[in-house]
Every structure is written in structure tokens, then in C-alpha cells.
Amino acid sequence: MLLRNTAIELQSVSFAYRSFPVLEEVSLRVEDGEFLGIVGPNAGGKSTLLKLILGLLHPHAGTIDVLGGRPAEARQKLGYVPQHPSFPRDFPITVEQSVLLGRLGTGRRRPGILSPGRYTKSDRNAAFEALTEVEADGLANRQIDSLSGGQLQRVLLARALVSEPAILILDEPTANIDQRIESDIFDLLKRLNVRMTILVVSHDIAFISSYVERVACINRSLVCHPTDAIDGQVIQDLYGEEVRMVAHNHTHNPLTEEHQ
């Protein structure tokens, strides 16, 4: 295998909310073009890890390098799909307008974010392309409030894609939607992975194992596994108790047997 460049590198990163440690001595190297799954129990530090990489939180110890710089500097080259939308659903905004917001700060000059005025023709084209890519182009004029959970997830994904990010970061993108759409969205991510690095947090290790190359297991500390090496012991170590795994109907799934 060719040696790939480093997209993200964490070295001995620790983080605590007040005196409650969330991450301890976490080291992780993500290569360019990798599709990394992040799993772990609730409150195990998955979302915290993403927010550290996005520069929304700062580590108390250790260093984080994203695309060769500090997280806050690389931020505009990252696309982020949050677990819960951080806006009120009844906000008077159409799908197209919310996707166009992702075009802010995409200019070649950094002060582009301060530039006054309207969106350009190329901004609108990019928004249309992003919506087409997530198969939501028919929703452009709909109000955010009228979308189903799956539709909203596609729109949030389009908003992250419209800035043509080098790294796409998703926090539980399929937590609130049914399984048929879940596999649709992961199929889409698999296609996007051809041109961008993807980090995806999931609670469902069995499901994502059929898509990602490698799984990072986080429960305060972090252990990485290639997806073909995951067995019941790994999961038991991670969650700290015996876990009954449910087999999903996917081909090439290494986890089709049940572990008691």
C-alpha cells in the first residue's frame, strides 16, 4: 500500500469538562483519503474528539494537527454534520438558503467571510450540485421545518459538502432515521470517500464495519482496529460488559455471527 499523507494527527491529547476527564492520552493518525469509523459507549468522548478536531474545544494536554496546521486554521476546509441540528427547526429558511450558508468562507482569500453582498452564480451552482449529490435537489425550495428526519440529514450533508471540504466529519449521521435510509447515506459516504477523508461517529459498530476501513474505539482512551479484526472480545473490552451483537443484512460483513 502506498504511504499516504497525514490528514489529522492527535498526539497524547487529554480533555476534561471541569474536573471530569473525557479523553486521556489519545493519539490518532488519520491518513488522507481514509474512511474512519469512531465508536464507543455514550459519554465515551466521541463527540468531544470531533469538537477538538474542529477546533471548537481546545485540548488540555497534547497537540492536534489538522491538514498541517492548527484546527482553527484548517476549519474552513472541513465539512461538519452535527448529531443534532444546532438551529431551531421552525426558522424561516429554505433548504437552498441553508446550503448556501456553507459557501461562506470558501473564497480564495480568507477575508472572503467579510465580503459584503450576495451569493455568486458559482455559489448557487455549487449548492445545486451538493443537493443533487445527496439526492435532495427536489427539496431546494422547501422550508427546513417541513423536512423529514432523513431529508434533513441529507440537507445537512449537502451544507457540509458545498464548501468542497478536504475532510468530512459526521457525528451520528443516522441516529434518528430508519435503517433503509441509513444504508443509503453510508453508500453515499462511500462514494464521497473517493475524493475526501471521512470521519464518522456511530453507535453501531456492526453496521459501520462493512463500510469503513478502520474503527477507532473510544472510551476515554482510544484503540484502533482494522475492521476485519473486530470480534466479540474487542467490543467487550470497549463497552466493559458482554454485548449481544445484532447481525445486519450486509454482504461482506465480518460480523454476521452472533457473539454471546
Binding site: R75, I93, L101
Partner: protein, 290 residues
Amino acid sequence: MTQFLLALTEHNFLQYALVAGLLASIGCGVMGTYVVVKRIAFIAGGIAHSVLGGMGAAIYFGFDPLTGALGAAVLSALLIGWVRLQLKAHEDTLISALWAIGMAVGILFITKTPGYQSDLMDLLFGNILLVTEESLWFMGALDGLLLIIVGAYHRQFLAVVFDEEFACLRGIPVAFFYLLLLVLVAITVVLLIQVVGLILVLALLTLPAAIAGQYANSLGRMMLLATLIGGVVSISGLALSYEPDLPPGPTIILLVGALYVLSTLLTRFLTHYRIPYPTKRQKRGTSRDE
């Protein structure tokens, strides 16, 4: 009504009042929309009431009360915004304090100024009939400033009021635009005080926008509709109050209040019986996830 129209052609003060109502409705439509969708009505209320402190001080020291009002409004907007952004503290205690302290300071200054007591009611409840030509220019200039800034930075404002976290990730200086937004709200409060006074200003700032929000599916349309509603209620309030010699400010507020109640009932009724009406849900597209 005919008597009002007749008087309108004869009296300068009525024409000024009419223009003042229209100028105020631009501010109330544009900034009221941001106040409603960002849910910062309480901040706007705090700014409005703290203004009395600035007006009282200006009157006592012999300046123009409007200059004092503008200074106090901008100062309290920055203070509230700074507390929220820097200390990450809940700003409601500070807002309540500014609200009351501002009024207390204003009342003290005004009672110590000889011969000004009678105008206190006008400051509190406004008197659109006393608007001078000079204040109209002042209001026009403030409107112009609002429209230029909002016109230039409407995308950044939308990002900040819609989703602060996302705006931050796109590299937008969220703190700067949030503070700028509060300063513009402060300017609007001073604009509207001319028409309805500082006690009633909150209603004119939020209600037209809230009504518009029940029908509009974008901020731009909401602003336009709210401006129209603001203009219509100011003019009709003025006209209605003229014949029975009622104070115009409270008449305008009761009118917009009634309109808000009616509109809320109407939209509830229509949604309940699933009668299609031209609102947010009008445009339906196709998608796989229906």
C-alpha cells in the same frame, strides 16, 4: 376617517407623524425580524428601558435627548453582548439590572431638571404628534444606516442568527456580527421610541415580525412583510386615534396586538383543518424519503 384625511392636508404635525410612522416601520420590520428569529426580545427590552437613563442625563446636562438615548442604547447593547460572549454567563440577570437601573437613573435626572416633568409621559409612551422635522432626518439617517449594513452583510447575519456553531466553523467572526446585530437593534429601539415611547417599543419591534414569521419562508420576505404590517398599523393607529383624541402610541400597540392574536388564531385554525394557505409549507418537492 375623512376628518383625519382632511386634517392631514392641513396640519404639518400630522404629516410629520405619518412619515415618522413609515420610517419607524422600516426599522421595526428589518431588525424586528432578527429579534424574533434570534429570540432576543428580552435583550431588546433591556436596551429600550435603559435608554431612559441616557435621555435623562442628556436632558439634565442640556444635550439633545435623542443623542443620549442613542448612547445609552448602544452602550447597554455592547454590555449585554459582551457578558453573553465573554463570560458565557446567562445574561438575563444583567438585562434585568440594566432595565431597572437605566430607568431609575433617568427618573432621578429628570426630576432634578426644572420644568421637564410633564414630558416624562412622552418619553415613556411616545408622542408621534410631537415629532419635529429634525427628528425625521435623524430617523431617516438611522434607517439608511440599518439598510446599508444589513444589505451588505445579510448573509453573515443569517449565518449567525440561524446557526452560531456552523457560522463559527465557516470562519465567520460570530462575536463581531452578534455585537453588530445588538448595536443595530439598539439603533432601532431609538428609532421606534419616537413613535411609541420606550415602554411600548418592544411590541412594535416584535409583533409585526412575529406576524410576518407566520407566513414567510425566508428572512427577506419576513422583513418585507413585517415592514408593511408596521407601516399599516402605524398609519391606521394614527388615523383611528385622531378623531376620539386618543394617544396614538397605545392605539398603534393595541392594533398590532389585536392583529397578532387574530393572525395566530387564523394560522392555527388553517393548520388544524389542513386548509392549504400561502405559508411556509406551500412548496412541495420530490424526494426519496417522503
